[in-house]
C-alpha cells in the first residue's frame, strides 16, 4: 500500500512539473469529446432513437469513452520493454517486491492521477457544455464504479502480458499503435458493440476488450441493467481471473528466459 502511494505521488509530481502539458492534455480530451459529440448528433438527426438508445445516452457514452482514453496513459508494457532493452530490469528484479505487484502499483498510481486531474475535470466541463448525463441512480453509479475498476484491471493484465512478451522478443514498439487500435475498436470505446455487424459483434463479445470500455459505459448509460449488468460483470471477472493466471505463468516463463545485456 505504501509503495502504491509513492507511485501515485510520483505521477502527480510529474503532472505538476509540466503544467503546460497538463492544460494541452485537457484541451485534447475536450477536442475529442467535441468531435464525438457532433458525430452522434448528426447521425441521430438522420435516424432519431436508433437501436433503442436516445441521443443523450449516446453522447454520454461517446464522451465518457474519450475521457477514459486516460486508461491508455499508463503503459507498463513500454516500461518493461525499455527496462529490458537498457538492462535496468535487473534493478527492478532485485527489489523486495513481486514484479507483477510492482507494475500494478505503478500503473494504478498513474491511472488514478490521470483520472483525477484529467478525466474528471474534462467530464465536468462536458457536463456543462455538451449535456452529458449523470448515471440514473446511485445503484447504477456503484455498479459502474465496480465495473470500471474491473475493466481497468483487465486492460492492465493485457498490457502486462504484452510486456512479458517484450522480455523475450525485445521490441514491441512497432505493434503498439495496432494494439491500442484493437483495444479501442473491440473495446467499443467509440462505437458501442450493439452497432457492430453480426460477425464482428460475435467476435467482440468473445474477446476480453469489451470489459474495459463497453461494459462499464453501457452500465453507466443504463443500457445494461439488472441481471444483464451483473452477468456482464461476471464476464469481466472471469476474464480477469484468466488473465491474472496467464500473467503469472507467462511472466515466470519470461523471467527464466530473461537475458540481461550488460546493463
Amino acid at each position: 500500500m505504501k509503495i502504491f502511494w509513492s507511485f501515485t505521488r510520483q505521477a502527480f509530481q510529474f503532472v505538476a512539473a509540466y503544467r503546460f502539458n497538463f492544460f494541452a492534455e485537457i484541451f485534447l480530451i475536450l477536442l475529442r469529446m467535441y468531435g464525438v459529440y457532433w458525430v452522434w448528433k448528426i447521425l441521430y438527426t438522420q435516424r432519431p432513437g436508433a437501436f433503442g438508445v436516445d441521443l443523450q445516452q449516446m453522447i454520454t457514452y461517446g464522451v465518457l469513452g474519450m475521457a477514459l482514453e486516460i486508461f491508455m496513459w499508463s503503459r507498463p508494457q513500454m516500461y518493461m520493454a525499455r527496462q529490458v532493452k537498457s538492462g535496468a530490469i535487473d534493478t527492478d528484479l532485485m527489489k523486495p517486491i513481486d514484479f507483477h505487484v510492482h507494475m500494478l502499483a505503478r500503473s494504478l498510481g498513474e491511472t488514478l492521477v490521470a483520472l483525477g486531474v484529467l478525466a474528471i475535470p474534462a467530464l465536468a466541463v462536458a457536463y456543462f457544455l455538451l449535456g452529458v448525463e449523470l448515471p440514473p441512480d446511485i445503484w447504477t453509479g456503484t455498479l459502474f464504479g465496480i465495473s470500471l475498476g474491473l475493466g481497468y484491471l483487465v486492460l492492465f493484465h493485457l498490457n502486462f502480458l504484452l510486456g512479458s512478451l517484450a522480455v523475450v522478443t525485445l521490441d514491441i514498439r512497432h505493434i503498439s499503435w495496432a494494439y491500442y487500435s484493437v483495444v479501442r475498436f473491440f473495446g467499443g470505446q467509440m462505437i458501442p458493440l450493439w452497432l457492430f455487424p453480426p460477425f464482428l459483434a460475435w467476435l467482440a463479445a468473445a474477446l476480453p476488450f469489451q470489459s474495459t470500455y463497453y461494459i462499464p459505459m453501457s452500465i453507466y448509460i443504463g443500457n445494461l441493467s439488472g441481471a444483464e449488468a451483473i452477468q456482464a460483470m461476471g464476464f469481466q471477472l472471469v476474464w480477469l481471473v484468466v488473465l491474472v493466471l496467464l500473467s503469472r505463468l507467462l511472466w515466470s516463463w519470461a523471467h527464466r528466459r530473461l537475458v540481461v545485456q550488460g546493463g
Partner: protein, 265 residues
C-alpha cells in the same frame, strides 16, 4: 543545387541505417495497415448502420480519409522526424548541424527517413483507387493534375505546420504537446467531413490551422459535391495556402535559429 546533392546523399545514408532492421520494418508496415484498416472499419460501421454521414456515402468518406493520407504519406516518409526536433535540441544533437559547413536545415532534413511511411502510401493509393472505381469517377487530365497538386499541397501543409509548432521548442525547450495538438485537429479532419461540426471548428481548421485544405475543400471539387458547402471554391486555394505556409515557416525557422542557444549536450 549543392544543397540538393547533399540532401540526397544524407537520405541515402539514413536509408542504409534504417535497412539494417528488416524485422522492425515489416512489423511497422503491418502495424500501420492494421491501424488504418481499423479506422476505416469504424467509419464503415457507422455508415452501415446510418446509411450515410451527413450526406457523405461510404466511398466518399474513404476518399476523404485517403486523400488526407496521401498527403500525409509523403510527410511521414521524409519529414516525420520534425516531431522530434525538441529531442535534437534537448540532447544537443542540433549543435552538430551548426558546426558543419552546410545549411543546418538541409542537414536536419536529411537526418532520417521513415520507411514505414510506405505503408501510408500503400493504404492511401489502394483506398483512393477503390473509391475512384466505386464512385464511378471519370476525371480528365485537368482533374488529375489538380488531384496531384492537392496531394503535394497536403504534404506541404502538414510539414510546415508541424515544423512551425516544433520550432516552439527553440523558445520553451518543449514542443511535443503543441505538435500533438495539430495532429488531433488533423485526425478529426481526416476522419469526418468538417460540415458535421460546429462553426468555430470549421473556422479554426480553415483559417487558423488550415488542415481542411488537405482533404475536405479539394474533395468537394474532386467529388463534385459543390452543393454541400457554399465556400467549396476554397478547394482551389489549397496550393496557395501551402505556399503561404512555406513563407511563414521560413520566417519562423530563421527567427528560431537566431534565438538558438545550445543546451550544452
Amino acid at each position: 543545387m549543392e544543397a540538393l546533392r547533399l540532401y540526397f546523399k544524407l537520405i541515402r545514408i539514413s536509408m542504409q541505417a534504417r535497412l539494417q532492421y528488416r524485422a522492425d520494418f515489416i512489423m511497422g508496415i503491418l502495424n500501420i495497415i492494421a491501424l488504418n484498416a481499423i479506422n476505416l472499419g469504424m467509419i464503415g460501421i457507422l455508415v452501415y448502420r446510418f446509411v450515410n454521414l451527413n450526406g457523405w456515402e461510404i466511398w466518399e468518406l474513404v476518399f476523404l480519409y485517403c486523400l488526407w493520407l496521401l498527403g500525409h504519406s509523403i510527410f511521414s516518409l521524409f519529414f516525420w522526424h520534425f516531431w522530434e526536433l525538441e529531442e535534437y535540441l534537448v540532447q544537443g544533437t542540433f549543435d552538430q548541424f551548426l558546426l558543419r559547413p552546410a545549411s543546418p536545415f538541409v542537414q536536419f532534413l536529411g537526418r532520417e527517413v521513415q520507411y514505414i511511411g510506405f505503408a501510408d502510401v500503400f493504404v492511401a493509393a489502394t483506398g483512393l483507387a477503390l473509391a475512384y472505381v466505386n464512385l464511378g469517377l471519370h476525371w480528365g487530365i485537368v482533374a488529375w493534375l489538380f488531384f496531384f497538386l492537392v496531394a503535394i499541397s497536403g504534404t506541404v501543409i502538414e510539414t510546415t505546420l508541424t515544423l512551425m509548432m516544433a520550432c516552439i521548442s527553440f523558445w520553451t525547450g518543449r514542443s511535443s504537446m503543441a505538435v500533438d495538438l495539430i495532429m488531433e485537429f488533423n485526425v478529426l479532419v481526416q476522419h469526418y467531413p468538417i460540415d458535421i461540426f460546429g462553426s468555430w471548428f470549421r473556422v479554426v481548421v480553415t483559417g487558423l490551422i488550415p488542415v481542411a485544405f488537405m482533404n475536405y475543400y479539394p474533395a468537394l471539387i474532386l467529388l463534385d459535391k459543390l452543393d454541400r458547402n457554399s465556400v467549396w471554391w476554397l478547394g482551389y486555394l489549397s496550393p496557395i495556402v501551402a505556399l503561404l505556409l512555406v513563407g511563414m515557416t521560413a520566417g519562423v525557422w530563421h527567427l528560431a535559429l537566431r534565438r538558438y542557444s545550445s543546451s550544452g549536450g
